[in-house]
Symmetry: C2
Subunit: 339 residues, 2 copies
């Protein structure tokens, strides 16, 4: 498979599957969740999403405690429900465990997984437990619901829309790099970055507020990095985008970690992946009310980072030292599990 | 984990999770599917099930062609929907692929998977594609529906009920043994047994007829072998069972394969696993009408194999050479992925 990216594979699957009998299917492959109408149609729709976590690819037991890994396994799937503006309800968990794994490790994983479910009022309703050869693997399916008229899709962004993110970018990538370099996972100095990688927060409340506002045209969550996920949103919407480097929201700790690691904080923000912030577009006029609305209802700031354009591709704009504008194509330059 | 069986793990999970906010949850961990009420409640309920297939544990690429493995990955999950009397609608597919796997292998897997979905009028609506270290792994989630009043659970069997199976037992175990011994997978002589292992049929139509009959008290599908799955049904129903060795439905080819391999056809029928036949109980009086009803609507025979008893445990009854009765406890002596 070495020649194919994850995107190639998904495109091939979409082509083969077609739209089929789409009577009650409102969205299928290509969005954060499948969206299914109730039968007969009701006020609510069902949201379905599934994700796999593979040891040595998605996590490293050397620094990821089982409790936090269990929390993350739940969180990254709940994030896909948040990305549609939905409310998570139920989870299914498949676990493949190697023979050498201690019982206590899995018990702690499960305690962390279940704790996040409880925080969101969710329930584990089924699963599968199997043996694996050497690597532990988890697959989580989450079922949620949303108001039929308020679901937010990747498609829907329009020329001229403002592009927003729900919080800081690049923190998880910085945290991962610190773990790789052997920084203690309880190092207080780096707590913000380590938590972003080990125990990410999901933006369910933010997603609900954004969906209810009626102001959002398109939305997804940032799992593969801004450069890739904004390209997804643009492709599904048939548009392009410009983002402004100076407007990307980092943090002081991110800049400190970049200096410490001698790496680029900007690269982490664009390509790092696993931010689990929401990325969304609105009409320009929304800027006058949406930040205040979100702040009042969630206590969080949102950040305008650019603009949707009719011309395809995602372009990063920045100022050079002389004040001239630099433009760089960054479409799909985020994290790909297949490359 | 070496001390724990899959059953121990599931019991621990059930205990930890509790029943939670079960407002719209009609069945959770411990049945073939989770059963969820529509909100607001309607005539139909949703069914959810998930299963993992791990290379070297659940399948061997040496003899399992990718197309048939794709078919089986879909079928074994659809079987859980059939086990509740439901109709499968949608599937989610997570794939973890090792770097060395040729593109064509996965394309063929997907073609087989999708073919079974089409045969059942289903649609692939989402999934995840990730890299794995060395073993290929697949996780399938299937969503189905059933009429709210007609769902069949594992619990519900009553003292005196007749125990039935929907078809022959042990064929998949015999087919697996033949593959292990290097028999060609297109050997016409063993086609029935090889197909049972490589490309099992699922009993959706049978499950629909049984659910609609109103005569069935409890049902599940046989994935871990009769001895284990009947014990599951009995435990959930708070009863026990006796099965009669001479009434277990094998086939002529099964007996031939047992002789060829110098193994026990009876052991395959009791413990082999992966039969994907339906196992169900009815009041005694149903025997006068149910076999004819099923034959008329599906063209298939069902087989009475024993009786539900109030005393716990599953007992195998057989006649010895002198006509005396032998009784042997067989609870949970089927296949366990964790032992």
């Amino acid at each position: 498979m070495s020649e194919r990216t994850e995107r190639d594979i998904i495109a091939a699957i979409r082509k083969m599957v077609g739209s089929g009998d789409s009577r009650n299917l409102l969205a299928g492959i290509g969005d954060d969740c499948a969206v299914i109408r109730q039968d007969p149609p009701g006020d609510k729709v069902w949201l379905l999403t599934t994700d796999a976590l593979v040891e040595a690819v998605h996590f490293d037991r050397a620094w990821h405690s089982p409790r936090l890994l269990g929390r993350k396994a739940a969180a990254v799937n709940i994030s896909d429900i948040a990305a549609m503006g939905g409310r998570p309800l139920f989870a299914l968990l498949s676990v493949a465990l190697p023979a050498g794994l201690p019982d206590a490790w899995f018990d702690d994983f499960l305690a962390g997984f279940n704790a996040v479910l409880r925080e969101h009022g969710m329930l584990l309703v089924g699963g599968d437990t199997v043996r694996s050869g050497s690597a532990a693997m988890f697959n989580v399916t989450v079922i949620g619901e949303a108001e039929a008229g308020l679901v937010l899709y990747r498609a829907g962004a329009r020329d001229g829309d403002t592009v927003w993110v729900s919080g800081s970018l690049g923190l998880a990538a910085a945290g991962l790099e610190l773990c790789r370099r052997g920084v203690a996972t309880d190092a207080a100095e780096w707590a913000e970055l380590l938590k972003a990688h080990l125990d990410p927060e999901v933006q369910v409340a933010m997603g609900r507020v954004l969906a209810a506002s009626g102001l959002v045209h398109a939305m997804l969550d940032i799992s593969d990095g801004l450069a890739t996920d904004l390209a997804h949103l643009c492709t599904e919407s048939g548009v392009g985008a410009e983002v402004v480097a100076e407007q990307l929201p980092g943090t002081e700790k991110l800049a400190m970690a970049a200096a410490f690691c001698n790496m680029s904080g900007l690269d982490w923000m664009l390509s790092g992946g696993e931010d689990y912030q929401l990325l969304f577009t609105t009409p320009v006029a929304a800027a006058a009310i949406l930040p205040q609305l979100v702040l009042a209802q969630t206590g969080r700031q949102i950040h305008a980072i650019g603009r949707i354009r009719s011309r395809h591709g995602v372009v990063l704009c920045s100022r050079d030292q002389d004040g001239g504008e630099q433009r760089r194509e960054i479409s799909y330059q985020g994290f790909d599990h297949f490359v």
